[in-house]
Every structure is written in C-alpha cells, then in structure tokens.
C-alpha cells in the first residue's frame, strides 16, 4: 500500500487534492487538521526524515497567498512524499518540531523569511536575519534590493 492509499483510506477528510508531478506524489491537506496526519505519516508510514520545509508566496496569484511545502522521505521504505498546505498572513500553523526535530530551525527560517507563525513552537525567533531587521525578506511585497542597517553586534552564544 502506498502512502497515497494510506492517506485516502485513513485521512480522506483531510486530503484536499492529490497529483503527481515529475514522478513525485504531491498531496494538499487541510492546514487545521494537519498535525495528526503528519504524526501518522511519521509513525505508521515511517517517514523519518523531514528533508525540507519551505514556502512559496503567490501574492496576487492565489488566495490564500502562501503554500507551505513539506518534503518527506522514509529511509526504511525509500519513499518520498510532498505535502502542501495553503496558509495566509493572519493564521497560525501547528508546529511539527515535536515530530521531526529539525523542523525547529526550518520553521524559524520560514518565520524569518515569510513571517509565518507556528503554534506551540519552542523558540520562534529570527534565525538568519539580524534581530533588528523589519519585515520579511522573501515576501513578494518586500522590495528586492532594500537593505537595512543594523547597529547591534549579534550575541554569539548559542542556547539550545
């Protein structure tokens, strides 16, 4: 049984659409009920790697404007799966940092670059830009060459 069949059988109400692109299974799911699905994929389908978590800003083309992309991989079954979530400016997404630990930093990057907020995230602050930076640099309405002068020296100690 493929993971697509698994989702259709056990979580059909959460799956919004499903298609194949460049031999890659892509499933769009409902953002409000995504957490149990992610947990099930990790526990039952053995997707033990979150390869990447990224975002696309479709400002002016789609509503809601953001698409979150979860790239999953299973080392035991060698299966790949891509999960899409539609989200917007004013909504929070459940964190998956409790399922895949590396999601902690990936979600911080999305918060930094796109301003997406994650519910129950343990440490949601900027990871790449300076802490004095205003706005979110990879949003389509951020001016592409707008720099921001920062005067503070960043703290170089790391806390886990």
């Amino acid at each position: 049984m493929s993971s697509i069949d698994f989702l259709q059988q056990h979580h059909a109400d959460v799956v919004i659409s499903q298609h194949v692109e460049f031999d890659r299974n892509i499933v769009q799911i409902d953002r409000t009920r995504m957490l149990p699905v992610m947990k099930a994929l990790q526990a039952e389908r053995r997707f033990n790697l979150l390869i990447d978590l990224t975002c696309v800003d479709y400002l002016g083309q789609q509503k809601p404007r953001f698409t979150l992309i979860y790239e999953l991989y299973s080392l035991p079954t060698k299966e790949r799966l891509r999960i899409h979530l539609k989200t917007d400016d004013d909504v929070e997404i459940d964190t998956v940092s409790g399922i895949w630990r590396n999601a902690n930093w990936l979600e911080r990057e999305l918060f930094d670059m796109f301003g997406i907020r994650f519910r129950n995230h343990p440490d949601l602050r900027r990871i790449l830009c300076h802490h004095e930076f205003k706005g979110h640099a990879l949003r389509k309405d951020y001016p592409v060459d707008k720099g921001q002068w920062c005067s503070d020296l960043e703290e170089l100690t790391f806390t886990s």
Binding site: C129, F133, Y142, G147, Q148, W149, L153
Partner: protein
C-alpha cells in the same frame, strides 16, 4: 652638494614624510577579513607560489590591534557590518583598507536585502581590487597601488581625511 657635503660619511638628508612612508609601505601588516572565495585567492597570494612577502606584506596578524592593513575579501552582509566596523576601529593608526573583489567593493551581484552594497559605506577604502574573485596578481597590483598611495601621503593629512569618511559610516550605523 647641499648639506650632505658638509657632514661626515654615513649621513643622508631626506624628508621626514619620505622616510616614514618608506618604512610604512614596505612593512604592511595585513589583517585578513576573508568572508568568501576571495579569501581562497588570498591564501594563494601569501603562499610560496605568488609570495606576497616580496612586497613586505607577508606578516599576517589575526588581531586588529597588531595590524595596519585591513584586507576585506568577500561579501559583507548587514549582519556582519557592525563586526567589520568594530574591527576597523580597533586597528591603531595609521591604517589602510583594501576592498578585494566585487562583493566587498560594491556588493557585486548580491543586490538584495542581506548584502552591504560596498564596504566603503562603513569603512574608508583606499584601494578597490576588481574581480570575482581577483587573481593573485590583481591583488598584488592592488597592494603595489596602495604602496604608491602611501608614498604620496603626508604623515599629517591621513587622519583628517579618514575622520570625514568615518562620520558618514557612523551616521549609517547609528553609532555616535
């Protein structure tokens, strides 16, 4: 001829500026600030194949307090800008700056939210070395240009010119 004819053997007269500059230009102590691939070219420049010591600039210091030439080699992000500025301020006078490569000189092709569009917005630059990255020969030519520049300076005027440029940088970084 001149006063030297009246002095005993072993004396020579010169201008103080010429003597001091002769010493300064032939014993530059660079502080490398390599943030990108230009740093790799610099390693080659100081190594035996190209041998920067032929120009008296081979003693690298990794403390700004012991150096007089700041070699900025690579992309400087806005996050790094206050660090670079502090390193420059920690260097004792007299001091010179070489911006190596297009990123340090103008931001290069990184025209985005993260990259300073030329380090001359935060520190006064004496010589810009073009290239992406520049060949070691290009950096050497830049160093020789700096030596010629030092030779033409007076020990009095350097500081005043720098102060004007520093005020501009301070305004941007909101440092009083």
């Amino acid at each position: 001829m001149g006063i030297e004819a009246l002095l005993p053997q072993g004396f020579a007269t010169t201008l103080l500026d010429r003597l001091v500059n002769w010493g300064r230009k032939n014993s530059l102590w660079p502080l490398p600030f390599p943030t990108a691939c230009c740093g790799i070219e610099f390693m080659s420049t100081v190594s035996s194949h190209f041998d920067l010591s032929r120009f008296g600039a081979e003693v690298l210091r990794f403390s700004p307090r012991q150096s007089d030439l700041l070699l900025v080699m690579g992309t400087i992000s806005y996050k790094m800008a206050p660090v670079l500025r502090r390193v420059y301020e920690q260097m004792p006078e007299p001091k010179w700056v070489i911006a190596m490569g297009v990123c340090a000189s103008s931001g290069g092709f990184y025209r985005n939210y993260a990259t300073v569009q030329g380090i001359d917005q935060i520190v006064p630059v004496d010589v810009y070395v073009p290239g992406c990255p520049p060949r070691p020969e290009t950096l050497m030519q830049g160093l020789m240009m700096l030596q010629r520049k030092i030779d033409g300076e007076s020990i009095h005027d350097k500081r005043e010119r720098d102060v004007e440029k520093m005020k501009e940088g301070s305004r941007r970084l909101r440092i009083v």
